[in-house]
């Protein structure tokens, strides 16, 4: 676009260029052709630049990240009934992600021997909820949302229960399936 713009601008076109015959009845179509040609090639150039620009910016919308099972520790490290935060890596972190590739979940070993992994993201606006063990509640620091131990909303602004990650046990290790942050 820029190139086309600066090509067009430098010379202010005199009303009647000397090279133009004054009786240019048949020159008019030629002039119209040039003007259409210039507009068309400029538009084409703009598209050549614009498509990759926009495509690159919206790429995250189409790029589907694979979901991975991530081990968060041996089964017997988790006491039955307790809820603790566990940390794991995102699915396919970029080499320069550093600590931002880390994610946490609230993991509980349930009475029946299974595991539940709650998302740490408040369903109101995504802030990190904290588990208050004695009160058996999740509390959100941002706007005071409260969740029961089972993730259902107990009070405050959150519209939905806490999200959950799929969890499984493989060869004595607890594994969590990486998932997108659950936005409604």
């Amino acid at each position: 676009m820029d190139a086309a713009g600066s090509d067009a601008s430098p010379d202010p076109a005199p009303p009647a260029p000397p090279s133009t015959p004054t009786n240019g009845a048949e020159m008019l179509p030629r002039r119209r052709f040039f003007s259409r040609l210039s507009t068309a090639v400029s538009a084409a150039a703009a598209v050549i630049v614009g498509v990759p620009f926009i495509g690159f910016l919206v790429a995250p919308l189409v790029r589907r990240v694979p979901r991975e099972w991530r081990a968060v520790g041996p089964v017997d490290r988790f006491a039955v009934g307790e809820t603790v935060s566990v940390t794991f890596q995102d699915a396919s972190p970029l080499p320069w992600s550093g600590v931002t590739a880390r994610t946490a979940a609230w993991l509980r070993r349930t009475e029946d021997g299974g595991f539940t992994a709650f998302s740490v993201n408040c369903t109101h606006l995504g802030c990190p909820v904290q588990w208050i063990a004695d009160a058996r509640l999740f509390l959100c620091p941002c706007h005071g949302g409260v969740y029961n131990a089972d993730g259902t909303v107990a009070a405050g602004p959150p519209p939905r229960p806490l999200g959950e990650y799929p969890v499984r046990v493989r060869s004595g290790r607890v594994e969590i399936l990486t998932s997108p942050i659950p936005f409604a």
């Binding site: 995102d90 550093g98 931002t100 109101h124 606006l125 509390l139 519209p159 409604a184």
Partner: protein, 459 residues
């Protein structure tokens, strides 16, 4: 020297143009009300200069930005000062553009023929807000990470395309390596380029239509007569912009720069919080002061209105901004437009009260609350002491105060027994309310008994 200038003018025309721009006649007695636009521009230029300096050392990568900021703040020569300037420069720009918009609106300077001055300014206002938001995120600490997530969550509330928008904000499924770089690109290239373009247009329009004269009662703007009247006024009493009016812009602008520099030295840049690690859950994200009022809006909005406030209200605000110059003729004086100051006062009052609410953030549980000391409990019977212990351990104290200890989300319970009977207290604890969990499930009857025993002593 003058031959060089003449040569330059012959080849570029710039000298004549600049002289013309500087000496063009402006209305007399414009006064100090007219300095805020140029001061906003000066604040923006300051941002450009300090921003370029910071960008030479900042690493716009999710994993390294934090360390590079540490380096800038703690080791780089003048780094702390530059960060401070950039922060207070941003604050100044937000404040000044706000005042400039209010001034323009109050004096109805948007009326014929300056409608596009207003519109280009409105877009500049939105771009400034975008710069402030993206800039705050580049201070890539824990708060920044959670601010991105909160922003994505808000985008997620948009019907139909919400999830895609949220992914666009995060540049992926979660915060990660791709998140920061695009905010950096928007903050330092894309938005500033648009700002430069629009400032150019804005200034061109100011030169084309002239600075608006002070409104006069009983002199309505009419398309047929305004220009002739304005030109006649300039011919009879106009003064050259430079230096008759420009000196105020220079003095005020220099004062703005001086204040920013002083604050940068004395107060310094905002502290870097914890590292941008989303797995550190002890976080208390809150935005910089200029967005604190919106943080309060989000906290205080009832759930039923949420989508409206988050999605529709900004659109309505934008639409109103764009529609203002529709009333482009008629009286400019505030005395004939009494709603104008009322509207400005209303907006300022609403923002300031939300701002105060945001600064106090009473809706946030006080995670730092410590067990009530014995002298506050002052009853030594076993049930009461146990109740006081539970009051802390069960989380009541995060939201309720007793004798100044605890959070402020719920009512102060210092004198609860003078409002509620023991039965009422028990009911409230077990059943909860819209902002209080029902404790029936998480407390044994004995524990409820003990809590009631304790709270019944608070008369």
């Amino acid at each position: 020297m003058s031959r060089l200038l003449a040569w330059l003018d012959d080849r570029t025309g710039l000298v004549t143009w600049t002289r013309h721009a500087l000496e063009h006649p402006v209305p007399p007695r414009t006064g100090w009300w007219y300095v805020f636009g140029s001061a906003t521009l000066i604040a923006f230029l300051l941002q450009v200069v300090t921003g370029i300096a910071l960008a030479t050392a900042y690493v716009p990568a999710s994993g390294q930005a934090y360390e590079s900021l540490r380096f800038i703040s703690e080791q780089a020569l003048m780094g702390r000062f530059l960060r401070g300037m950039h922060y207070f420069g941003a604050s100044a720009m937000m404040l000044l553009i706000g005042i400039h918009v209010a001034r323009t609106y109050l004096m109805a300077a948007y009326k014929y023929p300056r409608e596009l001055n207003w519109l280009s300014g409105a877009v500049l206002l939105l771009l400034t807000i975008a710069l402030a938001f993206t800039g705050q995120l580049l201070r890539w600490d824990q708060t920044a990470v959670w601010s991105v997530i909160v922003a994505a969550a808000q985008a997620g509330k948009v019907p139909v395309i919400g999830t895609d928008l949220a992914r666009f904000v995060l540049a992926g499924d979660t915060v990660g390596g791709a998140t920061l770089s695009r905010f950096f690109a928007f903050h330092v290239f894309f938005i500033p380029a648009l700002v430069f373009l629009l400032i150019g247009l804005h200034l061109l329009l100011v030169l084309r239509h002239g600075i608006s004269e002070r409104p006069r009662l009983g002199q309505p703007v009419e398309e047929a007569t305004y220009r002739a009247r304005y030109d006649a006024m300039l011919r009879s009493e106009g003064v050259p912009f430079w230096p008759d009016a420009a000196w105020r812009d220079a003095v005020f602008g220099a004062a703005v720069v001086a204040v920013i520099a002083i604050l940068a030295v004395i107060v310094g840049p905002p502290e870097l919080g914890r590292p941008p690690d989303p797995s550190i859950l002890q976080a208390y994200p809150r935005p910089d002061w200029y967005f604190l009022w919106y943080f309060a809006v989000l906290a205080l909005t009832p759930t039923s209105l949420e989508t409206f406030i988050i999605v529709v209200a900004p659109l309505v605000f934008g639409a109103i901004l764009l529609l203002v110059p529709l009333s482009n003729t008629g009286e400019r004086s505030v005395r004939r437009r009494p709603w104008a100051p009322l509207l400005v006062i209303a907006i300022v009052t609403v923002i300031v009260s939300f701002w105060i609410a945001g600064a106090q953030a009473k809706w946030s549980p006080d995670f730092a609350a410590t067990p009530l000391p014995a002298e506050v409990v002052h009853d030594t019977s076993a049930a009461v002491v146990e109740g006081a212990r539970l009051f802390h351990s069960k989380g009541c104290e995060f939201c309720h105060q007793i004798a100044g200890h605890g959070g402020e989300r719920g009512p102060d319970l210092s004198n609860v027994a003078s409002r509620l009977t023991s039965q009422g207290i028990a009911l409230q604890i077990t059943n909860g309310g819209p902002n209080m969990p029902a404790y029936a499930r998480s407390l044994t009857p004995d524990e409820v008994q003990a809590l009631v025993a304790f709270l019944s002593t608070r008369k």
